[in-house]
């Protein structure tokens, strides 16, 4: 990514890519206000890869939407000093009326990139996700894995310091997902992005992250955090990944069991 010296200094100057400060969120439910997120405080350091792990319905997407600015917290505040974060959804969310290349160019255009630079930049981003030939392809002509890679390229086109990902690989088969894990790790290390990645797959969390944050359910609270020191390149079947996954799974099961006790 073309970064001027001043910009690079700017990025060093801030101590966090996202700061979630005592955030709570409740929705109006059938039985009055339903507290979904309770007093969450979390910093994502510049260049850090954090995964948010939690059971289904614990509020992971809700938290990500808050960070993305799609919704407002009931209590607390969220800062993203780098501007509007990029967001990748579980579904690819590519626009079917545009080709893969034009999807990326739309993101560039909305960011304010000049017309004559868009094509080249889009092709560079497609190359980054290794889809150089896909510029003119329609969304429905791409496989599931290719769609998610185009979606990743479109998210990167926003040139944000912070990339939010909401279970982006959940709908893919295991082989494709494994390949995309490698891709994402490579791109993250190349671009020095901060990533906040949501998943309920423990191994995926450990495989990808520098730090895993476990959310409890109902209401969602930060239950525990792990720093993952396993060196890259990692593989999902590595012994170290498996070992830590077992530990985290135990903890996650404990969290879920607590709900059955009353």
């Amino acid at each position: 990514m073309a970064t001027t010296f001043a910009e690079a200094e700017d990025r060093v100057a801030v101590s966090h890519a996202a700061r979630i400060d005592h955030v709570s969120k409740s929705f109006a439910g059938p039985t009055g206000q339903q507290l979904v997120l309770d007093d969450i405080s979390l910093d994502v350091a510049p260049g850090e890869f954090v995964t948010l792990l939690g059971a289904s319905g614990c509020g992971k997407s809700t938290l990500l939407n808050l960070v993305a600015g799609l919704d407002r917290p009931t209590v607390g505040s969220i800062e993203t000093p780098g501007g509007r974060p990029a967001l990748m959804f579980q579904e690819h969310a590519l626009f079917p009326w545009l080709t893969a290349g034009k999807n990326i160019e739309l993101a560039l255009r909305l960011r304010g990139v000049a017309k004559n630079e868009r094509r080249g930049e889009a092709e560079r981003l497609l190359e980054l996700v290794r889809l150089s030939g896909a510029y003119g392809k329609r969304v429905h002509e791409l496989s599931g894995g290719m769609r998610q890679r185009v979606a990743l390229a479109r998210a990167l086109a926003q040139d944000s310091d912070l990339l939010l990902m909401d279970e982006p690989f959940a709908a893919l088969d295991a082989i494709t997902r494994d390949v995309l894990h490698d891709e994402l790790t490579r791109i993250w290390r190349e671009t020095k992005l901060s990533v906040l990645f949501v998943t309920h797959n423990v191994r995926e969390a450990v495989r990808l992250a520098e730090r895993v944050v476990l959310l409890s359910s109902r209401p969602g609270r930060i239950a525990r955090q792990w720093e993952i020191g396993i060196p890259h390149p990692r593989r999902i079947e590595d012994a170290a990944v498996a070992e830590l996954s077992v530990e985290i799974t135990e903890e996650l099961r404990g969290e879920i069991r607590r709900h059955g006790q009353h």
Partner: protein, 298 residues
């Protein structure tokens, strides 16, 4: 920096990943194939031709069987004679043009009014609450109902025709756009917002293109309503100043008890309606749906 050894190793690993990915992409991609012309002819063109031929045969057999008087059921040949007579007199194209040009011009006006109206109803809550139900209700009102007031308000002239077309077609076009906008998946709106497409930019880059299929369906129906409304107006309100259109042709047939003429007029009305749909709206709709992968090949 890493040592040379690990660098080459890393490069080999990256190549490996790229190869794996290329393989997965190739295995998983959809092959798009164009249908050959022969198949199109056999599957799309032949069946309707067979159906038309069958109708003609049954018609002729009924005439031969003399199930009713010949002035009530003329043979196909008599209708063909009417057609060739009109062609030789040089009136056929004039009659067609009178009606088709009216309907198309009326349709374009309906488009110009229906589109902004639909956008207003879809996006402004107050407008929707105020006129949304009326607009959908109007669709079920037969446009013939408008002919009487239109004649009294505007007199026997072209503006009365256009008024009837507009009252028939505008609700369809506006409603098509409204349902198109309503059916835009919320995911697209959220994706648009994270990319920075809010307000007008969101409407232009996300909502409008996403609503296009619904809008086109509305246009298609709008055309059908334009054509029907015009025919109703032409049949009921005939006057020498209005020129001879297909509706008047039908009405003249009735006045002269000229059954072949009536059959010819009905057939022409049907054919024009189908032809415009086949030549303009269906290809447009199919092109849009195909580009989005929404056209299921049977």
């Amino acid at each position: 920096m890493a040592s040379t050894d690990t660098t080459t190793e890393a490069v080999a690993k990256t190549d490996d990943l790229a190869g794996l990915e290329a393989g997965l992409d190739a295995l998983d991609s959809v092959q798009v194939r164009r249908t050959p012309v022969r198949e199109v002819l056999g599957r799309k063109v032949l069946p309707p031709l067979v159906a038309v031929a069958l109708v003609l045969v049954v018609w002729q057999v009924l005439v031969w069987a003399k199930i009713t008087d010949e002035y009530k059921l003329p043979p196909p040949a008599a209708v063909w004679d009417s057609l060739t007579t009109m062609w030789l007199e040089g009136t056929l194209l004039g009659v067609l043009w009178t009606s088709v040009s009216r309907a198309l011009l009326g349709f374009v006006m309906a488009l110009a009014i229906g589109t902004p109206l639909g956008l207003l109803v879809a996006r402004v809550r107050f407008v929707r609450a105020a006129i949304g139900p009326i607009l959908s209700g109007l669709q079920s009102l037969p446009s013939v109902a408008w002919v009487a007031p239109a004649v009294l308000w505007l007199g026997l002239n072209d503006s009365m025709m256009y008024a009837v077309i507009l009252l028939g077609a505008v609700p369809s076009i506006a409603n098509g756009l409204v349902s198109g906008v309503d059916q835009v998946p919320p995911l697209f709106l959220r994706a648009g917002r994270t990319l920075g497409a809010n307000g007008l930019r969101g409407a232009w880059h996300i909502v409008m293109p996403a609503a296009l299929p619904g809008y086109l369906a509305g246009l298609k129906q709008g055309w059908a309503f334009s054509w029907r409304s015009l025919m109703a107006a032409e049949i009921i309100a005939s006057s020498p100043e209005l020129g001879l259109g297909l509706g008047q042709l039908l009405e003249n047939g009735r006045n002269n008890i000229d059954m072949p003429g009536i059959f010819l007029a009905i057939l022409l009305i049907l054919i024009v309606g189908i032809a415009i749909d086949l030549l303009i709206f269906s290809p447009l709709e199919r092109a849009v749906l195909r580009r989005r992968g929404l056209l299921v090949k049977s």
